[in-house]
């Protein structure tokens, strides 16, 4: 899995906390996940947590280039 720093995990958590409650995320065969479930995966740093973190980092990186 991609190495994600402590600061990046904290940033990702803070950003996910802003997710509206009426939307859910499907990732491949997993989900749907609401905000609370996503935060649990982020907290546990499990496979889903890493996947969501990678999406978040890809998003932040892309924003710089858009």
């Amino acid at each position: 899995m991609t190495d994600i720093s402590k600061d990046e995990w904290e940033l990702i958590t803070a950003r996910i906390k802003q997710m509206p409650s009426h939307i859910v995320l499907s990732i491949g065969g997993d989900g749907p996940f609401n905000k609370e479930q996503i935060l649990e995966h982020i907290e546990q740093k499990d496979r889903i947590g890493y996947m969501i973190a990678q999406m978040e980092l890809a998003y932040l990186k892309a924003l710089k280039n858009l």
Binding site: M19, P20, H22, I23, V24, L25, S26, I27, G28, G29, D30, G31, P32, N34, M51, M55, E56, A58, Y59, A62, L66
Partner: protein
Amino acid sequence: MPQFHLLITRPEFDWATGYFSSWSKHIIDFAKERNINVLDLRGHKVTKKNFESYLVEHNPPLVVLNGHGTESSICGHKNEVLISIGINEEKLKSKIIYTIACKSANALGLSLVEKGTKTFIGYLDDFSFYTNKDKQTTPLQDEIARPCFEPSITLVNSLLKGKSVKEAASNALELYRSWIRIYLHKSDIEAPYILRALIWNQAHLTIIGDHEATIFDNN
């Protein structure tokens, strides 16, 4: 003019496959408008036996596989494996395949093309999308999901028009970029999340094999 066949699988056993299936209706309607015979394997009928039977009987030039996947397989109803490395890859020889199944553009896509599949179009990582949790029973009315599914529809419908794989993928990528531009300037609270999924899926769409192939090549 020869009769063309489109084989499409639409398992519908969970949240994600329900959305894939519903949004695929736009592909099916478009194909029917163009007098293309749609072989619609849907719901519990998406089994390996039925899938292989349709391939042998109708020899469709284009196969669209909705459902879940892994790096080495693509699945149907309740994740029954339809196609897998080392098992039945030769059944997809000379076909153009498009799949939303996650990660299958890795080992499976490469292996299929090595075994004779003309072109494999898919995703290198998990296809992701946000939805409105209150729209599960009416996915086509879910405007949060729409931007992630429309590029897929455009890609397949471009192939059905006779465009090359390269042109079809280019149309899909342009639509991704268009939705990204739109959502960059939207103030909706969902906008940043839709953008995450769009950027992710756009980055992982890939083509393996013949980029110039069209569905008319073998007919």
